[in-house]
Structure formats: structure tokens, C-alpha cells
Symmetry: C2
Subunit: 106 residues, 2 copies
């Protein structure tokens, strides 16, 4: 997985909205997704392109249409790499803070 592409893809509100739309109803076409997005079709295409490069969505052509499907795997990997890790450290944080504050002040 390319961490950077995933995070950069998620860093835009329009792209997160597209993921939400696909979560509500998976497998939508570009045209369908455009209906709920307040921008031109070509801009939506660019956003979907970044999401696809980050492997957050997969596409299937059906005739002249292109269907878009969410791929949750990169999100899970982000969780495993970045979130669960910090969760494990959570209990140590207050201890670290207390220790550090006391280190040079006593």
C-alpha cells in the first residue's frame, strides 16, 4: 500500500464525500456521482482518479458506463499502521507527560 496516496486521497472533502456516496450505494456510474457533487464532471473524474490510484475504489466498465466500487482494504491498513499503533500507546501518554514535566522542574 502507498500510505501517501491514501492519505492524500482522503485529505479532500469532495473525495471523502464521494466515498460516502459509494458507501450509501455502491457501484455508481460517473454520471450518477456527478448528480450529487457541486462541480463539473471533469473535476469529479479527477477526484475519482486519485481515489482509484490510492486503491480506495475499483472500477468496472459496463458498455459506455463506468461503475465505481469502494475497496476498504487500504482503509484497514491505515488503521493497522497508524491508528491501532497509537491506541496501544494511549495509556502511556499521561505517564510520559507527567514524567517529562517532573524531569527538570524538581
Amino acid at each position: 500500500m502507498d500510505d501517501d496516496k491514501v492519505f492524500k486521497a482522503l485529505a479532500d472533502a469532495s473525495r471523502r464525500m464521494l466515498l460516502d456516496r459509494l458507501c450509501e450505494r455502491n457501484g455508481q456510474t460517473l454520471g450518477q456521482l456527478c448528480e450529487t457533487m457541486d462541480m463539473k464532471r471533469q473535476s469529479v473524474t479527477q477526484h475519482l482518479g486519485l481515489l482509484e490510484q490510492a486503491n480506495l475504489i475499483s472500477t468496472v466498465r459496463r458498455g459506455r458506463e463506468k461503475l465505481h466500487f469502494i475497496n476498504p482494504v487500504p482503509l484497514y491498513e491505515v488503521y493497522a499502521r497508524w491508528i491501532r499503533k497509537f491506541e496501544e500507546e494511549r495509556l502511556n501518554l499521561l505517564h510520559d507527560l507527567k514524567q517529562e514535566l517532573e524531569r527538570k522542574q524538581t
Copy 2:
């Protein structure tokens, strides 16, 4: 929580590296963090500023030094809002895909 600030803060490799450094050793000063970052101090300051605005780190002044501590809460909220949600949908995705493909092709 401000979703957008958190995602934008995480969208930069340098800022993710800073979080990693703080995960290894919490409560470091700006100067300490600069030692492992290949850029000027002022740039590191900017990155830390964005992380702090996203509430991903908290700071404490100790004399002329400024200590930086990770705050894992926004990460957990990202997980709850964006990752766990899609995880729950995970099992439905293949079903949706199959259904959509069959919808107009039969």
C-alpha cells in the same frame, strides 16, 4: 473534531514522520524533533502547527522550550467515523458488485 484538518494534517509525509518520532519518544522539544528532520527549523514549526491545529499533538511550555505530545483522540475518531464504518460494509461489497453486474447484463 474537524475531519478536514485531521486528514490534511495526515496527508504529508513529514508530518506523519513527526508523529512517528513522538510515538517513539513522547514530549520532545522543537529542537529535538528538528534533528531528525531534513529541513529547516521554521518548516518543522509549520508542520507542528498544523498538527496542533488538528489537535493531533498538544504542547507544553517549559521555560524557553516547547514540549510536544501526541493526542490519539482525533485518530480514534477518524477510525470510528471513516474506517470502522467501511469495515462494516465490507462483507456487502462483493454482493453489491455481483448484483450490479448482473442487473443489466441478463
